[in-house]
Symmetry: D2
Subunit: 353 residues, 4 copies
């Protein structure tokens, strides 16, 4: 029997989660709830997704705007097993009582605090501890990428200390007409920024400090890391530890993928829905190791990276799959995730022999 | 029997034409040719498209880079009926002798001059005159949009004179790391700009003057028109003349589609491949008519708008469909083109009755 | 005796007006008032300008922040003849009672409505009608430029009808970290936009329609005009009518001034304070005339263009100079305004003969 | 007797050096040489600077364009003691023979290699070793800032190891219509980037690694540093070491200086020529120290920071001032450089007592 899922908040993350749920063989998307009544929610109607009004004022606004509505949030909660709350920052915490009252499990997002859920989730790191829980929180895009990459190195016994600079996109493409920064760079006013401690909610032993800033672009974050290793290591050892982890894809400057926009274009070319890149894209040929220090750079598609994690979190809470690796494999296959975006080069001798 | 098609030049336009050809029920994509050997062409390999080297140096470069190659451009031309040349500006003219030698028909793009082909093409305006020709030129994105919109009003006997300001994107998203403009606006150095005369290669009687400039964004053009009508007309008359034309979609500010990026996001949400908008998106609620003057604004997705025109041009040259409306309908259905991107509002009484 | 002036609102316009007042031989800047207590107002202190707190909360905030304060707005108003109100949009109207109570004359800015003051001001158009008034409004940057340019042609009997597209900067450079648009263009939702009617508050007989949009840059507006002339005219006639007007400077694409940023750089190179361009910069070699139609493009430095107008408005209200041309000449000389930014080319024969 | 100076290359750096030379009490600007014949060089003419043609083709082009010329580069070199070569990257090396032939000393810029000059210069670090030399190279803007800041900490015995991420502006404002990046971020393809080794040409014992990227803005660089200290230190100790160095100015987020553009605006407000910031602007309240690690962020105005260093280099080569601190003080006073841009807060008790 399929897991019955709702998405509350049909925004940047919510609409992607809704699509992903529809691609999973073991899940049904019962509907989405939102407060918008403009093109954003009418698009969902056009995709044959049942739309519910998240609040009483939203009901009136949707009716006024002629949005085809299937009912209220309460109606939706009555039909499901797990709700994914992708409402704006700090709203989810106020929704928890309704979720409890309806007896549904809930996956929150990284805008909420760890304390709100008592559990923070990244599939490769702690799937097992979420199995059967009522509540978890998928950490933010930046934190997810850090757990994937730094966690892989920590898991391999290679990582002593991580110091990172996170250059974030200023706003999302679909909202860039309303706010954002222009021709500037905005450093966060405090070092360390919050992402380090946030990663420690998943990997408590990580020695990590982050510095963050917003730059004048709308697409994807870039992280630059200086890593103190536990010992002198070869570049190959570091690469292999990263290759062993799921959801990290390797890209290369020498393939012409030299900037954030080229990878974004590659996703469009691959036919990815909305041009989404669920993987961390790590520049293989930029990675540099000198004695016990490693330096690396990767790209994070902030609109998309938490989508597979959210799918796994749904499955973990539902209790239907107890093994993290199994869930990750199911999710990645259904989405079409990869370790490598380009076909391997064909060498002449390969074809001769 | 299907029309056998090749695409020479797997860039911004070429890769989209290749995809579109693969969607057509009456066409086969035999292969694509290019000179690149980096991620751009390897993406085609990954999509199971046969790749040919466009030149002798390209053959060597592709082999060196390990790109799986099916042969040379000459090999490709030997297997097809129509080639679409989407090589960079001014290159296509130098390719014509090869096309003639191979006995294949050719569709060129708007970067080439009208004189090179003797025929300039926009499906709704002059499909018939291209039927069976050896050669045509699909006009540029800006010109195509002008022919669609101004041509619709001219065809309805409403348009006396058109004066437009064209604010162009500065470069394409996939190439924005290499060149472009930053925090400025660059007016063209001459008025009129070339787009007016270019539209007259398709609609000779159009009284049109354009002023053009590049703005600091990468996605889509915006056109702003002041139209002198042949007589006082109502807003409704103007709208109806536009609605009667194919490939114009109406959007509304009041739906929240208030800026170029919102429409781009809508295309992503609709699941369009690469987020493409083949239609001219005309703001219905901005259109204003005062006595014998009309003012209107629309958005042109420069990466995508010529794709359906190119498909029709292939069909016209091939001679397999002689009626323009039939070809347009085939193309538009296969691509999923629309007059309206959002579902119509549902009104309460609609549901009651 | 000098005109004693205060500036209320030390923002983008106010700080420039304060500087300009200090440059005038017939004016004294008594002080500036503001509500900010951060770097912006502390800069004024550093420039030895007396700072007053505009409100009671501002007094507390400035004291808390350690801003050296000379007193309250009431204290300031008690020492002056004319106040320039450069507070944010719609605030000035609420300040009028205080100004009246203090018996001071007031110059408001274009964010306020014409109805608030009953008089709208552009020096070259209607200086005389402001002489001795208690109140006037210097129209906005866009409107000021329109009155200068279109008014010059109308005054020469050449202009029948003006249709313009105004591409505005999205936000100012000093505020671009807080809001703005990114990688998009935002058309105004209504045609005509408000600038046409606004120009008619100064030039009632102008037949003008404007279409406006915001583009993704922070520096200066660009206007693109299609002008119906009263008769067929030569390019030379149009140029001469424009040359006869004050505060229009001619620039040329062929001098390498090909984009908004190049003119901004030129102002820096000329040593202009804050890089200000008080003139409308009109591209002489882009101006095109065909029979009874003219097309032209100019650039408007929105941070600076109203500064000389505001100076003239102070003088007009004060009644000390009754002739507009005299005031304009005084202002322009003190600021260093020009009709031409570059030295005239030297020709060999000029030097030989 | 004044040092007679020429500037060869009137571009972004050259025009600023020319202005600065004119402000120095002990220097005369004899003239500038360039190859441009457009607005850029005509601006120099307008500023009453004697212009020389840098090459024979430039002589013809300037004559054609009507640029008032004082002679050839050879003519200029015959009248001076020191030439500052600010021609584009890699050109200066080809000019050296002419400089030697003319018997003039030469200051090159950071685009040239250390090997070309055998000496790399930052005034606070190694003025003395340049005294009387024929040739030196003022290192690049990024390197200069690193030597100032890291050198100050190294000099205080506090710095063990520096790891930095340098987010560079993509192009300069005056050239942003011709090339640049849009809505993306471009990481350098290699770690370490060249700035670390470049700093070691001035401070050979520095243990430094840099990672660099270009971001989508035109104004100033931002550096983010993780510093391993030689021992646990207090925040105060680190600050004091930085305060003891010249040419570092402290700014604060809490003063509202929260982004690159706010500091740029502050420079405009301070009346700086061209809005130049010659100081490194270091965020005092972002600086964070934890045991033996320090984290800091500063801003580098790439157009301006090397100007005072270049002035000092001229003086060092000339041999007229042998003490670095004396030269730095002369330069800084003439330019108006500061340690603090805002007046100190006034506290009530300060005024009472």
């Amino acid at each position: 029997m399929s897991i019955r899922v709702a998405v509350n908040g049909y925004g940047v993350i919510g609409k992607r989660v809704a699509d992903a749920v529809r691609l999973m063989p073991d899940m049904d998307l019962v509907g989405v709830a939102d407060v918008a009544s403009d093109w954003r929610i009418r698009t969902a109607v056009g995709l044959d997704i049942d739309v519910y009004a998240a609040t009483t004022p939203a009901t009136a606004a949707m009716r006024e705007a002629g949005v085809s509505m299937a009912g209220s949030l309460a109606d939706l909660l009555g039909q499901i097993d797990v709700v994914v709350d992708t409402t704006p920052k700090k709203v989810a915490a106020t929704n928890l009582p309704s979720y409890r009252a309806a007896g549904v499990k809930a996956v929150l997002q990284g805008g909420e605090s760890h304390a709100t859920t008592g559990h923070s989730f990244v599939a490769q790191a702690n799937y097992a501890s979420a199995v059967g829980r009522d509540l978890t929180r998928v950490v933010s895009c930046n934190t997810t990428s850090m757990v994937r990459v730094l966690g892989a190195l920590q898991g391999a016994g290679l990582l002593a200390r991580a110091r990172g600079v996170l250059i974030r996109r200023a706003t999302d493409p679909g909202e860039s007409h309303q706010g954002g920064i222009m021709n500037t760079l905005v450093p966060e006013s405090t070092i360390p920024s919050h992402q380090g401690p946030d990663a420690q909610t998943v990997l408590p032993d990580l020695d990590v400090v982050t510095i963050a800033a917003k730059a004048s672009h709308t697409q994807t974050h870039a992280h630059f890391w200086t890593l103190q290793l536990t010992r002198s290591a070869s570049r190959q050892e570091v690469l292999e530890a990263l290759r062993a982890a799921p959801r990290i894809a390797f890209i290369r400057m020498t393939d012409g993928l030299t900037a954030l926009n080229t990878t974004v274009e590659l996703m469009r070319d691959l036919g990815r829905p909305r041009g989404d890149m669920w993987e961390v894209a790590l520049w293989e040929d930029v990675l540099s190791v000198a004695e016990a220090e490693a330096f690396l750079t990767y790209q994070v598609h902030n609109e998309a990276i938490v989508v597979p994690e959210t799918i796994d979190a749904i499955r973990a809470l539902s209790g239907t799959v107890t093994d993290g690796a199994t869930s990750i494999a199911m999710t990645d296959k259904a989405l079409g995730m990869r370790h490598r975006f380009l076909p391997a080069p064909v060498r002449l001798h390969d074809r001769v022999h």
